[in-house]
Symmetry: C2
Subunit: 209 residues, 2 copies
């Protein structure tokens, strides 16, 4: 497509670099900004550059934070001996929104993926191992996606953590039938896992709200 | 949703102000930027602010341009007595890409829409009337969307232009069965229009490529 203005062509190209946004959508967004007050473009522009330049990561759990140590890691009421390992900040937000988890987190920043060229060194795995060495941690919970890459990451972490002298207990979040899901639509692997990892009925009753 | 960082919350809010982008997508885009080199965020940020602050509109046709008079309006090989009235720059690009139009344009900047609070004064209608008064224009082509708002705009323009002393001929683009479309799936109004506005067969053969 040819644009009637270099400035327009430039903004469309830059917006279209974002994942899931094509040139057509980028053009629509650019024209939208043109119809809004100049202040909106200024705020958007500044928010992008400030976020990219000034945002910090918590030096303990590597979650995004404005402080050196994030609110979760500095909360004394939480159980710091229980660490849930997740891929990124969205997983932290999802687990926090359940209101059922009282431990702390470790944000890997992704998962090991040979296809996408992500190796262990690209993630905060070394920092997790150091953290286990230096702090008293009783249990590590793996909460990775149930994908091939997630499993690869789980196995790699499991091996590395098991080699440590003070290796903590290691668990993974339960795979099974989603609440509200009908059995006949579940895939075989998930169904098999839900049978193998069955839970005492009285325990499950107490978890219903 | 609660974010672990004010900077993150800020960028998510700003991105989510864009049409068709929710908070979840905005968060995904922000995290994507964080993984890319800082230069990409800088370029995006600058492109937005430069576009918004520096972009000009052609003083003749009101299309987006880097110059006072756009490339189309300053092209002497084009027919400046034939003016196609469109809603916005995307329509100019769409018609240009057909390669079949040799006239010039007038970009209204939207259409009259009582529901969205867009009146004649919000568009470049007065400029179009001035343009007709001051230049020798033989024909005006209405190329608005075939919607209620598009029709409203057409009727308003038709009345205003007809009142002028040197009122040019007024036409609208043909409504009909799209090329490649099957008759049975066409709606009745479109089908009726395509019959009422039928074209001599020999003329239509010449238009096939």
């Amino acid at each position: 497509m040819e644009y009637s203005s270099k400035l327009l062509s430039e903004i469309v190209d830059e917006i279209a670099k974002l994942p899931g946004i094509g040139k057509r959508t980028a053009l629509r967004l650019a024209l939208y900004l043109l119809k809004q007050p100049e202040a909106q473009s200024e705020q958007l522009s500044q928010a992008i550059i400030r976020f990219r330049k000034e945002v910090k990561h918590c030096k303990i759990c590597h979650n995004i934070s404005d402080k050196d140590v994030c609110d979760i890691c500095s909360d004394e009421r939480r159980n710091h001996a229980l660490v849930c390992v997740v891929e990124d900040i969205r997983d932290v937000m999802a687990i926090e929104s359940t209101g059922e988890y009282n431990g702390v987190y470790h944000v890997l920043g992704g998962k090991i993926s040979p296809i996408e060229g992500v190796g262990p060194a690209d993630l905060t795995i070394e920092q997790l191992l150091q953290r286990i060495k230096n702090y008293q941690i009783d249990e590590i919970i793996f909460a990775m996606s149930a994908t091939v890459d997630g499993d690869t990451t789980n196995f790699y972490l499991y091996r590395k953590i098991s080699e440590l002298p003070n290796s903590p207990g290691i668990s993974t979040i339960a795979r099974g039938i989603a609440v509200g899901e009908e059995l006949e639509y579940a895939d075989e692997i998930t169904l098999a896992r839900s049978i193998l990892n069955r839970v005492p009925f009285e325990k499950s009753i107490k978890q219903n709200k």
